[in-house]
């Protein structure tokens, strides 16, 4: 068989990065509406003509080139937005939601463990970061890691009731936890109560992320460029982690637990242990995402980590394609950027998300970019 050309994959990558930049820079509502229309047309047309398959084959055949190019395209996209504060902040939010979405992918997509408290786990990460940064001198990368770990450890408190229940009941437990978490924050004065906490800016090897980057007297780059670059690095690491989990014996074990725990246990698989693993990895990633969120927004409050935020995270994962990390980008763009850009829908955004999720579940149950069969490393 002939090796597929590398062009479709490169084109898709560059086009996606360009689309993200254009979408973020668009300031007229008709521009955004047109782009959304084009995106829907590409999606429908692509489904008919099998573009997804073409791009996938091309990317698989040239993975060694396409993967670095994709991340480079992401870096270039961020760089193109270097002077645009608000757009970079939005892009950071997209990446943070993607990191948390990667966590949900491991939990929900692979192991089948429901989690309707993802925002609460982000909150745990965010508050851990706030407390550690305000009261200790730990290096900030360590703080971010610890925030993920604390989130994973507190998540394990939920494990016992979660493992004893299934389906709707497990979902209810996570919902209850999310609400408890918020109430706990609101009544806890040490954590700022409803007013929340201030978070200092990130610092890495003496480089303060909150300082704008002065190129010369006329040109100044947004300080959000620091954060966007940092978020991209964390996103890359999280993405690699989740991809590698899926494309290994671990991914197979998680899939087996989700699809048929009885059959899996007949071959010696410990379902509970794998669910615990997946739940903890997912909460770790949510905690890291929350930690980044805290440093970027510089201020956190209980109202930032509500049940509706958890629902938004779940809808991102379902919209993008449950179990496929690639789908997180378009889904997060739709959920985070579109309402900001189309003020018309801002008021109705939850209604629209609900309609969108229902439409996707009916018309394209696999999501925007459905998950593919496992590709083990060559």
């Amino acid at each position: 068989m002939r090796t597929p050309s590398i062009l479709p994959a490169l084109f898709a990558t560059v086009a996606t990065a360009a689309a993200v930049v254009l979408l973020l820079l668009a300031d007229q509502e008709w521009e955004v509406a047109t782009m959304a229309g084009v995106a829907v047309a590409v999606l429908l047309g692509g489904m008919r003509l099998g573009w997804g398959e073409t791009v996938h084959r091309s990317a698989t055949a040239h993975r060694r080139i396409v993967t670095p190019v994709t991340w480079l395209a992401g870096a270039v996209a961020i760089f193109l937005l270097r002077e645009h504060n608000f757009e970079l902040l939005m892009l950071c939010t997209v990446m943070i939601f993607m990191i948390a979405g990667l966590g949900l992918t491991v939990q929900f997509g692979y192991a089948g463990v429901v989690n309707f408290a993802a925002a609460a786990f982000m909150g745990i990460g965010a508050y851990t970061t706030a407390v550690l940064m305000n009261s200790t001198a730990l290096p900030h990368p360590v703080v971010i890691l610890l925030s993920g770990l604390v989130s994973a450890v507190i998540g394990s408190v939920l494990l016992l009731p979660l493992l004893r229940t299934r389906g709707h009941y497990a979902a209810l437990i996570t919902i209850a936890f999310g609400i408890l978490f918020r109430t706990f924050l609101e009544v806890n004065d040490a954590l700022g109560g409803p007013q929340g906490l201030k978070v200092p800016g990130l610092e890495l090897f003496g480089h303060a992320f909150n300082d704008a980057i002065e190129i010369n007297d006329d040109v100044e780059w947004s300080f959000y460029l620091n954060y966007a670059a940092g978020a991209l690095v964390v996103l890359f690491l999280a993405y690699e982690l989740v991809r590698r989990i899926e494309r290994s014996w671990m991914g197979l074990a998680l899939d087996a637990v989700r699809l048929d725990e009885t059959a899996a246990s007949a071959f010696g698989l410990n379902g509970a242990a794998w669910k615990i693993t997946a739940f903890s990895i997912g909460n770790f990633l949510a905690g890291v995402a929350g930690s980044l969120y805290a440093t970027i927004t510089a201020f956190i409050a209980p109202a930032s980590f509500t049940f509706s935020d958890s629902l938004i995270l779940v809808s991102i994962v379902i919209l993008g394609g449950l179990g496929n990390p690639l789908g997180l980008l378009p889904a997060a763009l739709v959920v985070v950027v579109l309402p900001e850009k189309l003020q018309v829908i801002q008021e109705y955004r939850f209604l629209l998300f609900a309609i969108l999720v229902i439409a996707i579940l009916l018309l394209r149950p696999g999501g925007l970019i459905p998950r593919r069969a496992r590709e083990y490393p060559e």
């Binding site: 197979l252 899939d255 490393p377």
Partner: protein, 260 residues
């Protein structure tokens, strides 16, 4: 008598008021093939579920290779070398044929974080080796299946799914294989073919013991060394196929023949 591999004594299982198993004794020797027959609801599948740690008996004991495994959960039983198939196939239909076979291999794979996430050279080597093992095993059962490792199990025909399920149970080289009605949903010819293929595997693994639940008496006759007939959770009779098929109680309960 062959060396004892599995010894079930006085097994009783109750579901509410129903006695699914009622003081059942069964002995399986190393390398033996036993046909387990009985009408629907006679406790055959419950017996398998009890052996494999999915159902726990109210009474009685199961020893396997000298160890008491009565109270062990399924995954611990699997570690001791008992593998099974399910009456209603339990393949992971969304996953590939290879993935399904690798579930059977689960206990032999390295699931460590280092090997799977960080340094993946070992994973690559293990994948290569496992693909070879999988192909070699499938080859006993079909000429085409070895080339279909990456296809989803859900795209296979019924007979191929059966074959994959049997291979999944065989791949880790179990000491005891429990086959729960492998002929369900298949034509008699397909069943016969499956049994012949299974016997060619068995020819190379003389120590492998098999307990087979089967309704097709011809299959039982052709493969089993010994037959056990269950009825209402009890052993109705036991012996060679010809002994069992002549037994008046069996004929009454199972073969549906009136006494003359």
């Amino acid at each position: 008598m062959s060396t004892a591999l599995l010894d079930a004594t006085g097994l009783s299982v109750r579901f509410g008021g129903v006695r699914a198993l009622d003081g059942l004794d069964l002995h399986v020797g190393e390398g033996e093939v036993i046909g387990l027959i009985g009408p629907n609801g006679s406790g055959k599948t419950t017996f398998f579920n009890t052996l494999t740690g999915f159902v726990f008996p109210a009474d009685g004991r199961v020893t396997f290779a000298g160890e008491d495994i009565t109270a062990l959960p399924a995954r611990e039983v699997a570690k001791r070398g008992i593998a099974r198939t399910f009456q209603r196939l339990r393949l992971l239909l969304e996953l590939s044929v290879f993935d399904n076979l690798m579930l059977g291999q689960h206990l032999s794979l390295d699931h460590g974080v280092w090997a799977n996430i960080v340094a993946r050279g070992g994973l690559r080597r293990s994948l290569e080796k496992q693909r070879e093992t999988a192909r070699a095993l499938l080859r006993y059962f079909s000429d085409s299946l070895p080339d279909r490792l990456s296809e989803p199990a859900g795209s296979l025909t019924m007979i191929d799914r059966r074959r994959v399920e049997v291979c999944r149970a065989l791949i880790r080289d179990p000491k005891l294989l429990l086959l729960d009605e492998p002929s369900a949903g298949m034509t008699p010819d397909e069943t016969r073919e499956l049994m012949q293929d299974l016997q060619s595997v068995k020819a190379e693994r003389p120590a492998l013991a098999v307990v087979l639940i089967e309704h097709d008496m011809e299959v039982i006759e052709s493969v089993s060394h010994r037959c056990v007939v269950l009825d209402y959770g009890r052993k109705l009779c036991e012996g060679s196929y010809s002994e069992v098929s002549q037994d008046p109680a069996v004929r009454r309960a199972y073969l549906g023949v009136e006494d003359e």
